[in-house]
């Protein structure tokens, strides 16, 4: 069987009408686009339950490098991780545009991820997703085309795995 995603995407690129048989591949999926250290990143929108303002964070004893600390989200105490530290990007003190993306783990427990700036919601057909390329950061699951450039798509599952491992050590 040929790869249906591939062929549909080619049809779309050639300006052919959308094939009703494969709506999933062509239906645009939504991604939250944000910036980390000046570079564009994205997360599937369904992985982000809300975007919160950065309120004061309590530092945690003997914390792993990418755990910023504990933040109170309407009375719930969440761990907040620095995505920049996780992705080995420069991590200066967060600026005024910094936000906390609230992700939900497999058991729907909220965990915060600090981002420098939230940009917008991207609508991209699932089939437009490009592979991240060999040797890239494992949490990056692919590249989304946006105009001339590409946005690195993060895999929430792999982020959670990393955080779990960091806490277990």
């Amino acid at each position: 069987m040929t790869n249906p995603l591939r062929s549909d995407w080619r049809a779309l690129a050639l300006g052919a009408p959308l094939a009703p048989a494969a709506p999933a591949a062509c239906a645009p999926r939504e991604y939250l686009r944000f910036e980390l250290a000046g570079a564009p990143f994205a997360l599937p929108i369904e992985a982000v339950s809300e975007v919160a303002r950065l309120t004061p964070i309590a530092s945690v004893p003997h914390a792993p490098a990418d755990l910023l600390g504990i933040l109170s989200l309407r009375g719930r105490m969440l761990r907040v991780f620095d995505l920049r530290a996780r992705l080995a990007l420069p991590a200066p003190a967060p600026g005024a545009a910094a936000r906390v993306a609230i992700l939900r783990d497999a058991l729907a427990h909220p965990v915060g991820a600090l981002v420098d700036r939230v940009c917008d919601v991207l609508r991209v057909p699932a089939a437009a997703l490009r592979p991240a390329g060999r040797g890239s950061e494992p949490a990056v699951s692919g590249l989304l085309p946006m105009g001339e450039s590409f946005v690195s798509l993060l895999d929430p599952e792999r982020l959670f795995e990393g955080w779990r491992a960091a806490l277990r050590n």
């Binding site: 004061p56 945690v60 004893p61 309407r74 058991l107």
Partner: protein, 686 residues
């Protein structure tokens, strides 16, 4: 026991008792009024007397639970009298009813004055007088006829009947009613609803003499119920009712009118069992007067309220920022002071609101204890075993959510103890123990945890048998050294139970492993100690999830931290100049003893901040191992609401939880044990 500051709490507990007791007293009063009416019409309304009996029994248990012996003893007398009445052992029923009404009236009057010193004495006096009159009435009563019922009943079922049930069976049989057995198997998940539906359906036309549960065939995974009923209705009508509710009906004795003339032994016209009588809800009619101010609230509403208050709290910093902007305006001219005053007022009220909402969430563990007491009464009957159930520490408060979540594990432990641990009475006597076993459920607050333990004085776990099973199951090497602690741990392995028999109450593979999983989900742990022949203690330790904990606030590394007051021995002011050194160790002379000092920042792996001439030390640890934690500032003590950190159970060493403080970073509640441990294991400060 009420000393000084505790008097408020004591009267709070009493209020709780009064609130529940007065419900029962109202039921009793309303029921007795109707009983009086019925007796005047010379009939004994059996369902009504049963209802009264249950109310008196509940009152007795309640008073026992709340440790109000005077009320318990009076309720006990009422219960005895009602029992005698329904068993037909009282000749002058109207006199008995009048006596009962008098007793209830005395109790009703005493309830609002329970805290007065003379009330218990007056109650005791009244109880003695009543007891005398009851004895006289009962003395005249004819003993119930000891005639075996002429009913084709499985002897196993007959044996399971209580004396009263047997009396009802005999009575109904003699009155020529149709006696039948409705038999149903319901799934474990839904049996309560289904059983209720079946009972309600049958009650429309019959009296349910007994409901007898038994384990179904193992494969079906359900519970079998046999309902022994008596009815004036035709058997096919009953059969229809039962079938529609999922049960099969077997007629044990045909109605007198259907059968070829059985010798009806009783001439008195039998009062028909009306549906309205049998299925009547506890009398809610009656007095409108209410002593208590309690209200039942759906907990989800409290959750919603809590979230709203939390979100309101996040607005406070925005107010501050706005105030700063107003102050910066050139034309503000004094407005900023008014603004600041209003803002402070708002924040203060907001804090009060938070505290009030949180206070509502806190409930005493007694609530679970009451559920346990009720469940055990059912179990005693089911297992034909008696037990003395003792409770202690019911006033220990926990967040409602945790209290709810504790109910299942606790019930499981108590079932286990009753079913497996407590020996048969004869065996107990042979072992030199009191014939009736004791299960003691106690709770206490312990630092940042609440410990609830279930102790029994039963047989203990046969660790030898357990060891053999573990070796067979491959959980233990055959030549492993015998280690009691290790064996006690094995109890928690899934699928290991020293009793393989599947009974209705336990041993269905739902074992200690499930208890352990439940507690782990609550962030807690289970410890077990057992001694062959002496008994078993299972201790559930769970964090004070959302529990209020008095905490001492300190500042170190530019951040505030909270320490559980329970762990703090004392606090000291430290002058840097008087700190001594022994190698790397800083020491303080504490009343002639060397106190090792350790900077909290170092223990936490956080930067220490600039050196100070004056700082403070918080002394923690036990007598033999004290440490002075050096902090920059000492704050106040607050009753703090501790929250767990989402999805980080046990993964943040040294952090026991966090406290919400408006506008600031959450304050971490430190785990003192872990801090002490860090001191021992971590060589160099980070």
């Amino acid at each position: 026991m009420a000393a000084g500051g505790e008097s408020d709490r004591i009267s709070g507990v009493l209020r709780e008792f009064i609130a529940e007791a007065e419900d029962l007293v109202e039921t009793l009063q309303a029921g007795l009024a109707e009983l009086g009416d019925a007796l005047a019409a010379s009939e004994l309304p059996v369902p009504r007397v049963n209802e009264l009996f249950r109310a008196a029994h509940s009152l007795k248990s309640l008073a026992g639970l709340f440790e109000v012996p005077a009320a318990r003893d009076l309720a006990h007398r009422l219960e005895e009298m009602l029992d005698a009445l329904r068993m037909g052992r009282v000749s002058d029923a109207p006199a008995a009813a009048a006596c009962l009404a008098e007793g209830v009236a005395i109790l009703a009057q005493a309830l609002p004055r329970l805290d007065a010193a003379e009330t218990p004495l007056r109650l005791a006096e009244a109880t003695r007088a009543l007891a005398q009159r009851f004895d006289d009435l009962r003395g005249n009563g004819a003993p119930a006829a000891a005639v075996a019922p002429a009913v084709d009943l499985d002897p196993a079922i007959l044996r399971a009947l209580t004396e009263y049930e047997e009396h009802r069976l005999r009575d109904c049989s003699a009155r020529g009613l149709c006696i039948a057995l409705a038999d149903a198997v319901f799934e474990l998940l839904s049996f309560e609803q289904k059983l209720r539906a079946l009972s309600d359906a049958l009650r429309t036309s019959s009296e349910i003499i007994a409901t007898l549960p038994s384990p179904a065939e193992v494969a079906s995974g359900g519970i079998r119920f046999q309902l022994l009923i008596a009815s004036e209705a035709a058997p096919d009508v009953l059969g229809d009712l039962a079938r529609r509710a999922g049960a099969e009906l077997r007629v044990l004795q045909a109605r007198a009118q259907d059968a070829p003339r059985p010798a009806a032994s009783r001439a008195a016209p039998a009062p028909p069992e009306r549906a309205a009588d049998a299925a009547a809800p506890p009398a809610s009619a009656g007095s409108l007067r209410s002593l208590s101010d309690t209200l039942r609230v759906d907990f989800r509403k409290l959750d919603a309220l809590m979230n709203l208050v939390g979100e309101l709290g996040t607005l406070a910093p925005a107010f501050s920022a706005l105030g700063a902007r107003v102050a910066a305006l050139p034309e503000s001219a004094g407005i900023e002071r008014d603004f600041e005053r209003v803002r402070r007022g708002f924040e203060r009220k907001l804090r009060d609101l938070q505290a009030a909402v949180l206070d509502v969430r806190m409930v005493p563990l007694r609530q679970v204890f009451e559920k346990l007491a009720r469940a055990v009464r059912g179990l005693e009957r089911e297992l034909h075993k008696r037990v003395t159930l003792e409770f202690a520490g019911g006033e220990t408060e926990l967040d409602k959510r945790s209290v709810e979540a504790l109910a299942d594990p606790l019930l499981h432990l108590v079932r286990n103890a009753l079913d497996h641990a407590l020996e048969a009475e004869a065996d107990r006597v042979a072992a030199g123990k009191p014939p009736i076993g004791t299960i003691r459920v106690s709770a206490r607050a312990e630092g940042r945890h609440v410990v609830v333990s279930v102790e029994d004085d039963g047989a203990g776990i046969d660790t030898g048998a357990l060891r053999e099973k573990a070796i067979r199951a491959g959980l233990l090497a055959a030549d492993a050294a015998r280690d009691e602690r290790e064996l006690e741990r094995l109890v928690f392995e899934p699928g290991l139970s020293t009793r393989e028999r599947a009974t209705l109450t336990s041993g269905r593979g739902v074992g200690m492993d499930v208890v352990r999983a439940n507690l782990s989900a609550l962030g807690g742990r289970v410890d077990l100690r057992t001694e062959r022949g002496r008994g078993t203690e299972v201790a559930l330790t769970l964090p004070i999830t959302l529990a209020i904990l008095p905490a001492l606030y300190v500042r170190s590394a530019g951040q505030r931290f909270a320490l559980p007051i329970g762990a703090v021995r004392e606090t000291l002011a430290i002058e840097s100049a008087r700190v001594q050194k022994s190698c790397d160790q800083e020491l303080w002379n504490l009343r002639g003893e060397p106190l090792p000092l350790r900077h909290l920042a170092d223990a936490l792996g956080l930067p220490r901040g600039s050196a100070r001439d004056e700082c403070y030390a918080v002394v923690i640890g036990n007598e033999s191992e004290r440490v002075g934690l050096v902090v920059d500032e000492l704050g106040s003590r607050y009753d703090s609401v501790i929250k767990t950190i989402e999805a980080a159970q046990g993964s943040l060493p040294g952090v026991a939880g966090a406290v919400e403080v408006g506008g600031e970073a959450p304050v971490l509640l430190l785990d003192v044990e872990a801090l002490l441990h860090a001191r021992r294991s971590a060589g160099a400060p980070a």
